[in-house]
């Protein structure tokens, strides 16, 4: 570098640091887009990007181009493709240590007032929809007035967006700035946005935004009845509401290639094609650290498969570039064996599920009910499980013996909570059961209940694949004198049994153990150990079963009430930690194994996928790995 050039670059550096604009950056774009610019189909990249685009720090600056091959199992699997490209005002991303942190997306800044009732967001300057139209607060207002509050489209506002029964309110400040107001403090609103965005009725759900210039022609506040009927006929749906809704042919990005979006890719060939394709959005708002417009990858192809074995074959034949969805730990050996042949690598992710035994605290059998409600009995069940044996025999040794408690990587994780009651100690279990007065035994060595019947409990699973685990559990329970009867039943029946308070034990993957306050319902008993209690809590005592006086579950409800009305995050987190501690200490749900390995198939061509991230629903699965900075080796 000669002196002149050096001076010039210093001058540029000085300019850029004072001007603070992106003009000093030379933005680069994908060759595919350069061609379109040269053909006059697109404006140049500087005009397409916001003035100061969001910078997504790529693990390693990548090459443009290529097609990412993966597979999908049909319309029910649309969340697979969706999670590759969800957009939020704030999104969970992994920091350098792999911990989840909230990162702003298409906003320039945000702020929260002192008592957490007002949240102000400023959109990026020059942000554009995928058709090149500007994104402004008019789109926010359209979302609020014509969609969110429109009872024709959203009949019921989810309580998440109406704490205390009062829906959130919107105030537009200027073209880019708006404020969301709540009637009561709502400390977890940002975290909830990162998971659920602003709810119904769209699949893709960019928070607070709907493309007004495109969708108003199909909205009942703008279009006449005849126009709506004509649109419904055109798109072959029964009435215009079929255009909207969570599976609406117009509003679901996955159905409608014309829908303007903010996401890194948009749909090109929608289902029900055998190969669904997505193509890059030329107006995507983010760049990498060197000013290359993201995403790196041109296209994503999702090939339809009908049987899990077919997916395994695709993997072994090297037809998958990166996919975790649909991969099963049972096939771990198969995946490893074929790594070389399929030119891929099995990259571990971290599972946030804990597979557990869920007792029904309100079971109809009164003797069992009394036993399940006793902490000693739950402890005895927990201590009689030889977790290491189960992990070795059913999980290829790739899971951990843990209690149902916030998992590693969660801000609420504590080691002593995760190891609560997980040691294998059948002797203590025996003496605990003796202490409960279950001393009589029958000829087969099983304990007798106070009413003289054999102490026998049924455990239900909805998946044949778990039968082996349950057989093992059955043997371990028999050692301490409890007869455990495994049942594999239909999934719908399995769900209904919880709704109808009609089960004794269920074997289920207990999840939502990462950012607990984003959805604490499962831990509070809903669809789990205390479904009836939770009904009672949720309906203020109108239905369900009242928890017994002095029951610890009442403390948990009180803690959550405290957390949801707290004015600061610290105060709320203290209450949430209390609630978690009570839940774990009581051992309401008996964790067996969890925090296992999630299988991600990553081809040798694919770069920038970070291993060992927690991939769960709250963190939006693979989304936490920031798919827009993935790249494929180019020839």
């Amino acid at each position: 570098m000669n002196a002149k050039k050096w001076i010039a670059s210093v001058a540029i550096a000085a300019l850029s640091s004072t001007a603070m604009t992106a003009a000093a950056w030379a933005f680069q774009e994908a060759p595919m887009l350069t061609e379109m610019v040269e053909a006059g189909e697109l404006p140049p990249v500087d005009e397409r990007l916001p003035t100061s685009p969001t910078v997504v720090e790529a693990v390693e600056v990548g090459q443009y181009g290529g097609t990412w091959h993966r597979a999908y199992s049909g319309p029910g699997d649309r969340w697979g493709p969706t999670k590759l490209m969800e957009e939020r005002v704030l999104k969970w991303t992994a920091d350098a240590d792999g911990n989840a942190v909230l990162q702003p997306g298409y906003i320039e800044s945000y702020s929260v007032n002192e008592d957490s009732t007002e949240f102000t967001f400023t959109l990026l300057e020059g942000l554009k929809w995928s058709d090149g139209m500007p994104v402004t607060t008019e789109d926010v207002e359209f979302w609020y007035k014509d969609v969110f509050l429109n009872t024709e489209i959203v009949p019921n506002i989810d309580p998440t967006f109406a704490p205390g029964g009062k829906p959130l309110e919107l105030e537009i400040k200027d073209e880019r700035t708006f404020t969301i107001k709540f009637a009561q403090p709502y400390v977890y609103f940002l975290q909830i946005l990162a998971k659920d965005s602003t709810g119904e009725p769209s699949l893709d759900r960019p928070s607070f935004l709907f493309p007004k210039h495109y969708l108003s022609q199909y909205n009942n506040n703008y279009a006449s009845e005849e126009e709506l009927a004509a649109a419904a006929a055109k798109y072959n749906v029964e009435n215009w509401k079929g255009l909207w809704g969570s599976k609406g042919v117009l509003t679901a990005w996955w159905n409608n290639p014309e829908l303007p979006v903010l996401t890194a890719w948009k749909i090109e060939t929608p289902a029900p094609a055998d190969v669904v394709t997505m193509v890059r959005n030329p107006y995507y708002y983010a760049v990498d650290q060197e000013g290359n417009q993201l995403p790196y990858i041109d296209r994503i192809e999702h090939r339809l498969y009908q049987d899990p074995e077919t997916l395994n074959l695709m993997v072994a034949q090297g037809q998958i570039d990166m996919q975790g969805r649909g991969m099963n730990l049972d096939n771990y050996t198969f995946y490893k064996e074929n790594e070389e042949r399929g030119n891929y690598e099995v990259v571990p992710g971290r599972d946030s599920n804990v597979w557990s035994i869920v007792p029904n605290l309100t079971v109809k059998d009164e003797v069992l009910q009394e036993l399940f409600q006793s902490a000693d009995f739950r402890q005895a069940m927990s201590l009689s499980v030889d977790r290491e044996a189960i992990i070795e025999l059913t999980q290829s040794g790739l899971a951990n013996a843990v209690a149902v408690a916030p998992v590693n990587g969660s801000p609420y994780h504590k080691d002593d909570l995760s190891s609560h009651w997980v040691d294998y100690d059948p002797d203590t279990a025996d003496s605990l059961l003796d202490g409960l007065g279950l001393t009589e035994r029958d000829g087969a060595g099983f304990r007798l209940r106070p009413d003289g019947q054999r102490l026998s409990v049924t455990i239900e699973t909805s998946d044949q694949a778990n039968a082996k685990t349950l057989e093992l559990l059955s043997g371990m329970f028999a050692d301490v004198g409890i007869e455990l009867l495994p049942r594999v039943i239909d999934r719908t029946q399995w769900d209904n049994n919880r709704d109808n308070n009609d089960f004794q034990l269920q074997w289920m993957p207990f999840d939502r153990l990462t950012y607990v306050p984003a959805d604490p319902r499962l831990m509070m008993g809903s669809q789990s150990y205390g479904t009836e209690y939770f009904k009672w809590y949720q309906t203020n005592g109108e239905s369900g079963v009242e928890p017994p006086e002095g029951s610890a579950i009442r403390e948990m409800y009180a803690d959550w009430d405290k957390a949801s009305q707290a004015v600061s995050l610290e105060e709320a987190d203290a209450a949430v930690n209390e609630m978690i501690a009570t839940f774990v200490d009581q051992g309401y749900v008996i964790g067996v194994y969890g925090e296992g390995v999630l299988v991600n198939i990553v081809s040798d061509r694919m770069n920038n996928f970070v291993p060992n991230l927690v991939q769960d629903d709250i963190f939006r699965g693979v989304g936490i790995a920031r798919t827009q900075q993935f790249w494929l080796d180019q020839e």
Binding site: P75, A252, R491
Partner: protein, 328 residues
């Protein structure tokens, strides 16, 4: 003869109405409905929808209406507008889903039927004319094996063998690079590399059964006096066998044409699922599992129309063949 055909055709109408209603009801008999199945599927993948969302979807799809009303909404659209309704799961018109896949299904099924007959008839005839010969025993062993091994298992074994030992791309009808490519010589070669597995699987299962039927029918015929007479007249074995007993032995095949038509349409469901074929079978299976009643109902309706037409054709053929049936 014409009166016979008209009488038969008229009888088909109430049959179809009955079948369509019964199938519509049976699809919805299991507990829950499409929304329950949908929510369960989401839950299985770690996603959740709230009960309010479920209720809203039920209202939108009209799932709260009495079943008779739902049935009428569906069937009246088919009769008056030729509109098979909307698949809840795919959020697309049923017709756009069915007919696309039908062409491939018909092609595969017809090819495999032809293969079946090409294998079964000569082998059956040979086995009967050379009863208890070495080859007859060999064919018998293979016949029983073919009949005994489930199709899907054979499909899995063939896939495994071609994957591990032949290094072929298996599953589906095309390799990924050809799937969305326009037709070319390379694509046809690629198709041939894939299509032999489903053809072999479907043909062996069918042929094994047919060989046994053909052999038994032929043995019945070969001992009859007219065969003896033909031989006594000095006709060659080929002319005797192919000219007379084979024609009679084919008689039962005619009456089973009725079953062949719906089988052509549905394909072999499990085999198709295992082989990842883009045919109609897997779609029907999925629709039934998800209680997507408009898609599944339309499928079953089309299948029963095919069955009824097929039966009608066999009836007509038989009546034309055998006067005793025509006047019965």
């Amino acid at each position: 003869m014409i009166a016979f055909i008209i009488r038969r055709a008229l009888l088909a109408i109430p049959t179809l109405i009955f079948i369509s209603f019964i199938s519509f009801v049976i699809i919805q008999l299991p507990p829950g409905d499409y929304i329950t199945a949908y929510a369960a599927e989401l839950r299985h993948q770690g996603e959740y929808i709230t009960e309010a969302q479920e209720a809203a979807m039920r209202a939108q799809y009209g799932l709260n209406d009495p079943m008779v009303i739902q049935y009428w909404r569906w069937i009246s659209n088919i009769i008056f507008h030729g509109d098979f309704g909307y698949s809840l799961q795919w959020n697309a018109p049923v017709s756009s889903l069915i007919w696309d896949r039908l062409a491939i299904t018909l092609a595969i099924s017809t090819l495999s039927l032809v293969f079946t007959w090409i294998i079964a008839i000569p082998v059956g005839v040979y086995s009967a004319t050379r009863q208890y010969s070495v080859l007859d025993y060999v064919f018998t062993v293979f016949g029983f094996l073919g009949k005994g091994v489930p199709d899907f298992l054979l499909a899995l074994i063939l896939m495994w063998v071609s994957f591990v030992y032949l290094n072929l791309n298996v599953g589906g009808l095309f390799s990924p690079q050809f799937q969305s490519a326009p037709w070319s010589v390379a694509k046809v070669i690629d198709l041939l590399q894939h299509i032999w597995i489903p053809l072999v699987v479907l043909a062996t299962g069918g042929a094994a059964g047919l060989i046994r039927v053909m052999r038994a029918n032929m043995l019945d015929e070969l001992g009859k006096p007219y065969v003896e007479t033909a031989y006594a007249q000095g006709l060659s074995e080929g002319r005797v066998v192919w000219g007379y007993p084979v024609r009679v032995a084919l008689n039962p095949f005619i009456s089973t044409v009725g079953w062949a038509l719906p089988a052509l349409f549905s394909g072999d469901i499990i085999t198709a699922v295992v082989l990842n074929l883009p045919t109609t079978g897997p779609l029907l299976l999925q629709a039934l599992k998800m209680q997507d009643m408009y898609l599944a109902g339309s499928f079953i309706l089309v299948l029963s129309v095919f069955t009824v037409i097929g039966t009608l054709i066999s009836d007509v053929l038989l009546a034309w063949f055998d006067p005793r049936i025509r006047y019965a």
